[in-house]
Subunit: 333 residues, 4 copies
């Protein structure tokens, strides 16, 4: 079976998914839609698919699944429409910035027994997957503590920040999902500290650029997250899990791994400077998993529920900073 795809949104991340769909021998990219005709045409030309309107894709008989890469505020509506039409949905994170809206959307998905997978790409990074595999094999015994470091090479434009829902919902949300992926147990408590150190304009927009989070599960497993909107040395993405029998970690990735030795010391090049080069394999693998799941192999996970919980954790962090206290997840969902 070949899964026939429609792509909604032909921007930066849309291009990544278009490539992944086209390269998968079990899928074909049938159509692409974008508010900017030129963007849609560019993808259509590259991969030999049609340009259509979203409505046309929704009404089409030759579409089995869509990838939603449109602006965040359209996600929930589109998910509902396509699920109602019996079309499987892969949606970029987040489903919505409002927890209530996410809940109502997931209700629609459930009611229509729709398929919804959310784009937490990092779970599919081969290095992070290998960390999870070691945990599953029991190499480190019971998981006890995780440390997640996630720093962006540079802050996005303040205009983006304003629409982003804030650093916890926009950036840390990936780390919340990663913490759940690593701890293997639901998080029950969240506490965070936050500051503006990179750019005062971010503070003026009501957001933070440097944050720390502590997470804890009912049984006492813990995780901590360090986020910054700035890292001169590249896209800093590390995880580390400590358990009763040992620890496992995944180091940073760089495009080339040479080392230069001079009187100034031993120098390796900076890291990847962009999430798309850092997570190339992860983006391909998540779409492959979605396609495989539609073909009956494995699950379309992370699910909408995973998207909901990650957002709730972000909301809890926001509340924690506001009120200077540990927030229980039972307060949130």
């Amino acid at each position: 079976m070949t899964v026939r795809f429609g792509l909604l949104g032909a921007g930066r991340i849309g291009k990544v998914h278009a490539k992944a769909v086209s390269a998968d021998s079990n899928a074909t990219l049938v159509a692409v839609a974008d508010a900017m005709p030129a963007a849609a045409k560019s993808i259509a030309d590259l991969y030999g698919c049609e340009v259509r309107s979203i409505e046309a894709i929704l009404a089409a008989k030759d579409i089995d699944a869509v990838v939603i890469c449109t602006p965040t505020d359209t996600h929930a509506d589109l998910i509902e429409k396509f699920v109602k039409a019996g079309i499987a949905v892969f949606c970029e994170k987040p489903i919505d910035l409002s927890l209530a809206r996410v809940k109502s959307c997931l209700e629609v998905v459930r009611k229509h027994k729709g398929t919804l997978m959310v784009g937490f790409n990092r779970r599919f990074d081969p290095h992070f997957r290998a960390v999870r595999a070691e945990i599953d094999k029991g190499t480190i015994g019971d998981v006890e503590m995780a440390v997640i470091t996630s720093r962006d090479p540079g802050a996005p434009p303040v205009d983006y920040i304003k629409r982003s829902g804030g650093i916890f919902r926009d950036m840390t949300i990936h780390d919340f999902d990663m913490a759940r992926f690593l701890l293997g147990e639901e998080i029950s408590e969240v506490v965070a500290t936050a500051a503006v150190l990179v750019d005062p304009a971010i503070g003026a927009a009501g957001d933070f650029d440097s944050v720390q989070v502590l997470l804890k599960t009912k049984s006492g497993k813990q995780a901590m997250i360090s986020n910054s909107r700035r890292a001169t040395y590249g896209y800093d993405q590390r995880i580390e899990v400590h358990g009763s029998k040992g620890a496992v970690s995944a180091e940073n990735q760089r495009p080339v791994s040479i080392e230069v030795a001079t009187g100034a010391g031993y120098t390796r090049p900076p890291l990847h400077d962009f999430f798309m080069t850092r997570y190339t394999e992860a983006y391909a693998a998540e779409i492959a998993q979605f396609i495989a799941a539609l073909g009956g192999k494995g699950k379309a996970e992370p699910s909408g529920e995973d998207g909901l919980i990650a957002l709730a954790l972000a909301d809890a962090a926001v509340l924690s900073v506001k009120e200077g206290r540990v927030v229980k997840m039972s307060e949130m969902i």
Copy 2:
């Protein structure tokens, strides 16, 4: 000038300091006191010094300085006595487990213009010093965020735990001092999570064995600490500081640094498994600094005040866990 030393306490750490004093060409070990005569004699034999009672050392004319390595609950009293006698004091951490008692003790030190240095040995580790030196040189710009990982190879006996003041005052206290050393600004907020994962007996004793702490300064600098009483791979001691222009870190140390490659992968040996082998150089360097300070070179730091603040941070962490909230340091001191 040669500084003439008395050593109070001939236990494990007393031996370390006896060796450091003896090896320093600007100092001489004159006498040692211990409740266990055999322990004192063992050091006396090794370094050619006298065995005396604490009272005799206090009354002696040939003692310029003492190193206090006796049980914690004797520290404050001894500091006061020796300071009053005009003898310089190097005291193992902590000064006392009660913040009030530390304050009253420091009051006595101040009143008598005494010299008091506290044994936060990690500041003298050559690798951690090099991290601090890079910060001072401006290599990483303004300090923004620090990550401190500190895990013991194994938990101490529960009897020790019961007298220790708890993990925050016994173990994390070193990391609190390290956070201050790295951030270079006083901490204003503390929040922590804590769990019992290693040994239920620790929980039964009212303590935790796995804790996380977030720290924040007034200007927004932040640090996070991960502590565990267990690490199968050795004594895990890492620091990392992220700043506006870069980052600097100090990795773990191991006794031998070979690597074995087989079909099972590439393996390096475990870390040091004991704080005394890990921090050999640091213990020597802190005593050298104390001696140098008595000779007019540099300061006798970390000071009693440093000991006080580290303890207050520990108390704040205890309170934070108890009340599930961010604790402001202005509540503590």
Copy 3:
């Protein structure tokens, strides 16, 4: 301009090149030929090209270039035929196992002003290229000494060994080319030692499985090569260049870069275990360079001459082992 390709040979390496040609937007794979029709059909199906005979590809009007991946003993004849037909040739190494035959073949290429590029893929590895780029930038000053380590995960079948021309011509030939790439000056002296340690059957076939080579240029630049047909830990491929101002090296590559810490130590996974996964990017990049060169950008290098010199170095090593002496390249070509 789109370069229209014919692929001669649909075996393991043929598939790699088929993929590279198909993925390049400046090229199209028109036809594939193979003595085994099923192999050719498999590639034809995958990339949507025709199955043809070699003769048909030679006579075709719609072929600008061929990639030769047929057995070694057919290379020289095919190069001559296609060059005479005005078709550009990319040929897998080696051109031939006989130096005389390579020379006569290159004579034909020269006479017909043909384009011939030889598949020394390692020059296109991004890490090795980065090493060369540092040299070119002057980072390490004048190149003085290189160390090349190249060990295969396991020995090929003895049948292959018998037809291979021996380890120096089959395996070390890549390292000879790499030494030239790194030293940037022609090699004038060769000396080698060789032994059979992995498999006595290799010795019975008149070959070696564990060899060392020293190389020297006229100005005194030197390189050394360590080769083994066995490495339990994976495909061991390292280079290191030492110069007057510093050194630069490229480490081994592994599929996942996690690290597991337990009481047994810190373990990273084994290396890639196969040249095709290790050099995926290099294979794509060399074909891209060939295509670019046909379009006027850069040169079709490594050239036939590079193939000739690498083979002459291999012959010199064989002679050195036989006669127990340093062999001058002036004796060889």
Copy 4:
């Protein structure tokens, strides 16, 4: 039993040994001799021993062992004199620059059943010892190939070079001994290449500054050595052994092991820049082994015979470069 030591030669290396002897609880430094009275006095003051003439030490009743750190051309004579006097000898390498003289000296040692240990300190480096220990444990199976990299931070003065016996006898001699230590089988063949790249004055003095050596044993085990008199990044000392079941290596050592990350990349500090800081532990351990051997624990090894063979390997390398051929060790001894 306490071994009573005389030290012959109070130069740079004499100081290192004086410290090692003094720090060993099973030994005492009784006397020091040096042609320069001030040098001898400096050591005498530091360690509380007497200044004596060599003759007085030879005639003394309170000397059990001597450490010979005088100029090379005095070694053989001193060894003979002290061995005849029944005093155990630890001698810095080399015994002499003439193979014939070494042989006659060892004959005297044998005749008088003297104890002679030669200062190949690297065998006592904890990292290199750990490599050997892994080999002994069988971790890597049968040893097949070794790679030894040894580069000095800078060339010694040409005056020193002239008296040194040349790079193979002065510098590579350590690597020859290390190769024997690692291969565990006598070397039967030697071949080398050599050049002058660092300083033309070294060439004018008839020596080389950049050399490569291949070694081979009867059973086919092989080793290769890369030496340079220059390394901007510090004292480059690495070993690597490849065997039938795996490989083991020891990396370079540096005084501090921090890492700085900026836009320019990830930088670790340079290596130790001096053999005395790099091999501090090795120098202490070799003297400890000598003392232990005199007390009946273990052997006084490396022996005079080890010194002889290493020199013969150096002579073979010199001959190989001169005649452009593989030299068999059966030609040398």
